[in-house]
Amino acid sequence: MNMNKKTNHIVAKKIVAATHHERNDGIPFDMDFVQSIKINLSAVERRAGTIAKRRSVKKKWQAAWLLRAITCIDLTTLSGDDTPGNVQRLCAKARNPVRLDLLKAMGMEDAGITTGAVCVYHNFIDEAKKALEGTNIPIAAVSTAFPAGHIPIKERLRQIELSVAAGAMEIDIVITRQQVLRGQWRALYDEMVLYRKACGPAHMKTILATGELATMTNVAKASYVCMMAGADFIKTSTGKESVNATLPVSLVMIRMIREYLDKTGYKVGFKPAGGIRTAKQSIAWLILMKEELGDDWLRNDLFRFGASSLLGDIERQLEHFVTGRYSASYRHPMA
């Protein structure tokens, strides 16, 4: 393995989430490699279209996998009408995502099942912090003028710093899409390096907004540039684009994570976001991660779902597993 690490990047003072791996410090910009990246859409779609049919988890395996999926959820609310009230509810749900009787029936009551994080706008970090007191659930804040990113760079950096100062342990930033569409890879890299610096100890999750990047080759190149610049996670979407997380896009991104791992030894996390609403979908993504990257990416230090309604479907499936009866959503406490 080529451990070509750049050392003058900032070193995280503390690792926020429980990590079993070294944090990605980034590597020098490598234009040649970026230019060599080629993605064949049809072949990617074929793999993405069959991967979840090559594997299947049933019965208690399915239950265990769904519980695992819950621990990987960034339980999210990013709406114009968010209030302290619904953020509190969200946090309460993050602490207790599954009914205790169901957990007991599965022998999981003391497994400490929570969601992977809660994800909110900057203004609700305080509220979330209070609501999550006493837990290890990190707060993720979207930043850099999420979702479009069209404000001056200074303001974007300041947003990051403010959120980190307010207690966000993960910063979900958006990339400047025009840099991708105009092939300004170096500019994208430089901007990401600045963001990463601003994040300090907080983990940087870079949202590519793949639905706006036009081609898979662009998605792959952008993924790789962000990782070179030190992204801790690469994330598909803001949830606000017309097309959000898809399996083909995810496949392209995680293959880049693998490529980066092979080159540098750094493990970078992956977060599909937007459009993942069913338990079945979550299993498909877990299979994708397991098959293409390995078991390390089935844990929330390297894998997250950005989702708001996914949890509800998983709860109903878990109740079905426990009771053998199809469940109703009103039987589960809402977020």
Partner: protein, 796 residues
């Protein structure tokens, strides 16, 4: 058993079995014993013999199957024969309804078919469920359409009659569909013999035929081994044999049917190249490799079993493939989480094991994943050989197992050479991001199917079939339909030569009008040059009336050899349709300029009036015009296949074609057989009529003045049958047309079997070359070409 808590930590896969219960119940319903499905009834075999069918995944007994003997086969063929008039008589629409009903019925019982198939064959349930069975239903739907369209789209064609069909064990029901759907659509009745290892889904299919009320005798299914197959091939009332299986057996069938007039289509073995250029999306290539060689345990005739990688990326690709191989899961065919099931039988397992051992002994570097191979059935782990050279046995022989052999190339020229360095020519897969490269390589690879940036993609609307020793004929698409019809004019061919002998033999000696003429020596014509015969002998030729006409060279095997070499050097095949047309028109123009001379020659040959001779010259000119016109119009199709891609069906030249010309209509017969061969871009080695060779030797002067490239047409005169035999046995001759005797026809088919020549013979039947129905047409162009399907997925 692990608890949820443990699984939550390990995140392992658990068992996800597909239930065998419905399939087991169906077997029990039949008391695990099956007879033969003949004339719409289940019949105990006259042979009284049965054999056992077992599941290769766990060696469990599945059923006793009837072992059809010769008498059983006879009974089935007679039932099919009896049903034929009725099946033809109900017409296209009624047949379309039946085929549609079959398609629906298969969909309704799709899971039962899938489970039964996986139990019987050992293939993963995912594949039978998601690939085999949906393709089966699709094939019947597509051909229900062809049935409906027969009287408009194929109005010059009719059914062949009783068809014998022999299918392999790798895709049992899919191969059944590929055989039965087009046969029924075109009004044939049939006897199908599934492979002895995998007969069960064919028997379930027989039940479906019953359920939909298919008339008795239209479909007959007989189980049994090679003896039953041989009896079917030999049965005199069978009009066509369709076979999918090994090249070895394909050749046996070719020889067995030689001269009988039975139409045959053969889909045989392969050693298909999987070519990877340095600019390809390598991660996608890896999945392509998985689909190519670890699909169906590698028991796929078109498996991409030879990986050819550009040197610059070879090590990276091998590393990625090795990582991927570790993730392949092997196990019981009904487990929904496996990639690789069991191979079909212990016999096949031994073949694979033996060949891999040879590969190791010959110095190939073997790689197998560390995962354990199940031991309760016939399993073989995924295997890759690197450091293999074309001279290694495993690079040449079809392994028919999950074994990949990898080689490197330096340039795209070398890639093509390596790809074509095989006797087979079934499929090829080309991986590059460069469309210029892809579309340059695709026509150069000798293969009936070319997949660009994909592999093992099939659809009923596209033709599938091979070049070279991978067999001939296509299955799927309109090109596949022609395997199950014959041109209506075939019924009008004469069993006697149409040459009209003059009333009395004048037995004239050399004509002399008093003046001393200048001797004209007819030479042969090889590589664009007039050539003296190697042997140095000449033969005197006479007209029909016994009149002395002159001498021609007595060609021998060396002249044929030289002609074939010259033909291979010709650049004719690279010309566009337009430029071929220009040369052909020019031929017509020059023939017209010398029409008097040719009319005289015809009159000398046939003892007819000059006027009659002139008529034949005019007809010949018109015929050349017809083919010149077709040169840029007989083109391919873009098939409507079901995935997002352009599927190009391109007619390609066959290569070097020999043609043994008819005696009837000496000029027109020569023109009618030579010109279509040229039209499709083949180069020709012509053995002119032995009776009237001077017409052909006269003609080379026209060739010389018409910009015909050297080697495109080579003319070797002499003893027809003797020269023909040399051509038939020549391994570098790709096809051979023969218009002579019945015995000669048989000889061509018999001897041509060794390199699987595309042969077209007349079985001693005579065409009326002056009749446009018989003497020209797309039939000639079809026999002069082969369809290559190129799959080009798109999307960015």
């Amino acid at each position: 058993m692990s608890s949820i808590k443990q699984i939550f930590e390990t995140m392992e896969y658990g068992p996800a079995p597909e239930s065998p219960n419905a399939a087991l119940a169906w077997l029990e319903e039949h008391k695990n014993k099956f007879g033969l499905y003949i004339n719409g009834k289940w019949e105990a075999p006259i042979s009284k013999a049965y054999f056992k069918s077992i599941s290769p995944s766990n060696k469990n007994f599945l059923a006793d199957l009837a072992d059809a003997g010769e008498k059983d086969v006879d009974k089935a063929v007679k039932a099919a024969k009896k049903a034929l008039p009725g099946w033809v008589g109900i017409g296209p629409h009624a047949r379309a309804r039946y085929l549609y009903a079959i398609a629906r019925q298969i969909q309704k019982h799709s899971r039962l078919f899938a489970v039964l198939e996986s139990m019987d064959n050992g293939k993963p349930i995912r594949e039978s469920r998601d690939i085999d069975i949906p393709l089966v239903a699709r094939h019947f739907y597509h051909h229900a359409g062809w049935a409906q369209l027969m009287d408009t789209e194929l109005k010059d064609y009719k059914e062949i009659g009783v068809v014998g069909q022999i299918i392999p064990w790798n895709f049992p029901l899919l191969m059944l569909a590929w055989k039965i759907a087009p046969a029924l659509a075109m009004g044939n009745t049939l006897v199908l013999k599934p492979a002895e290892f995998t007969s069960l889904t064919a028997l379930l299919f027989a039940e479906i035929c019953d359920q939909i009320g298919l008339p008795p005798g239209v479909v007959n299914i007989i189980t049994g081994d090679g003896k039953a197959g041989a009896a079917l091939v030999d049965h005199p009332q069978v009009n066509k044999i369709a076979f999918t299986g090994s090249t070895e057996v394909g050749k046996i069938i070719r020889r067995a049917t030689a001269g009988t007039g039975k139409k045959i289509s053969l889909e045989l073995g392969g050693k298909s190249p999987f070519i990877v250029f340095e600019d390809a999306d390598l991660d996608s290539v890896v999945e392509g490799v998985v689909d190519a060689i670890w699909f169906n345990q590698g028991q796929v005739c078109c498996a991409g079993s030879r990986l050819l990688v550009q040197e610059s990326v070879a090590e990276r690709l091998y590393a990625k493939i090795k990582v991927r191989m570790e993730k392949l899961r092997m196990g019981d065919s009904l487990d929904k989480t496996i990639d690789i099931g069991a191979v079909v039988d212990k016999v096949q397992l031994k073949t694979i094991t033996d060949l891999v051992k040879i590969g190791v002994d010959e110095g190939g570097k073997i790689w197998q994943p560390s995962t354990a191979c199940p031991t309760d059935g016939y399993y073989y782990p995924p295997t890759m050989f690197t450091d293999v050279s074309p001279s290694s046995s495993i690079a040449q022989l079809e392994i028919f197992g999950p074994v990949l052999v990898a080689m490197t190339f330096r340039t795209h020229h070398e890639a093509v050479k390596l790809a074509n360095n095989t006797r087979y020519g079934l499929a090829a897969s080309i991986w590059t991001d460069n469309i210029n490269m892809a579309l340059d390589i695709a026509p150069k690879v000798k293969a009936g199917v070319v997949w660009i940036n994909c592999t093992n993609v099939f659809d009923a609307a596209a033709g599938f079939g091979g070049y070279r020793e991978s067999g001939f004929g296509r299955e799927g698409g309109k090109e596949g339909i022609y395997e199950y019809v014959k041109h209506k004019s075939n019924d009008n061919l004469s069993s006697k030569s149409l040459l009209k002998l003059p009333a009395k033999n004048k037995n004239a000696k050399a004509k002399s009008n008093g003046a001393v003429s200048i001797d004209r020596t007819a030479k042969m014509y090889i590589g664009g040059k007039q050539a003296r015969p190697d042997g140095g002998y000449s033969t005197t030729v006479y007209g029909l009336a016994g009149n002395h006409m002159g001498e021609v060279s007595t060609g021998n095997r060396k002249d044929i050899r030289n002609a074939v070499e010259a033909a291979h050097k010709s650049n004719w095949g690279g010309k566009t349709g337009h430029s071929k047309a220009q040369v052909l028109y020019y031929l017509a123009e020059n023939l017209y300029a010398r029409k008097d001379e040719f009319a005289d020659r015809i009159s000398q040959c046939l003892d007819v009036s000059k006027q009659a001779g002139m008529k034949e010259v005019d007809q010949s000119i018109e015929r050349i015009y017809w083919y010149a016109a077709m040169a840029d119009k007989y083109d391919g199709r873009v098939h409507h296949t079901t995935s997002r891609n352009v599927t190009l069906a391109m007619p390609e030249s066959i290569g070097v074609l020999g043609v043994v010309c008819p005696d009837d209509s000496p000029l027109l017969g020569f023109i009618s057989t030579l010109i279509p061969i040229l039209t499709m871009g083949n180069s020709a080695v012509v053995i002119p009529s032995e009776k009237f060779p001077l017409i052909a030797t006269d003609f080379y002067q026209i060739l010389e003045t018409s910009d015909m490239p050297a080697g495109a047409v080579n003319i070797v005169t002499g003893p027809r049958e003797e020269l023909c035999e040399v051509l038939a046995k020549h391994d570098d001759v790709d096809g051979l047309w023969y218009f002579g005797s019945k015995a000669g026809s048989k000889n061509v088919e018999l001897l041509g079997a060794d390199n699987m020549k595309r042969t077209w013979v007349n079985y001693g039947k005579y065409r009326d070359w002056t009749d446009k129905e018989q003497g020209q047409g797309e039939v000639f162009l079809r026999f002069a070409s082969q369809i290559k399907n190129i799959w080009v997925p798109y999307g960015e």
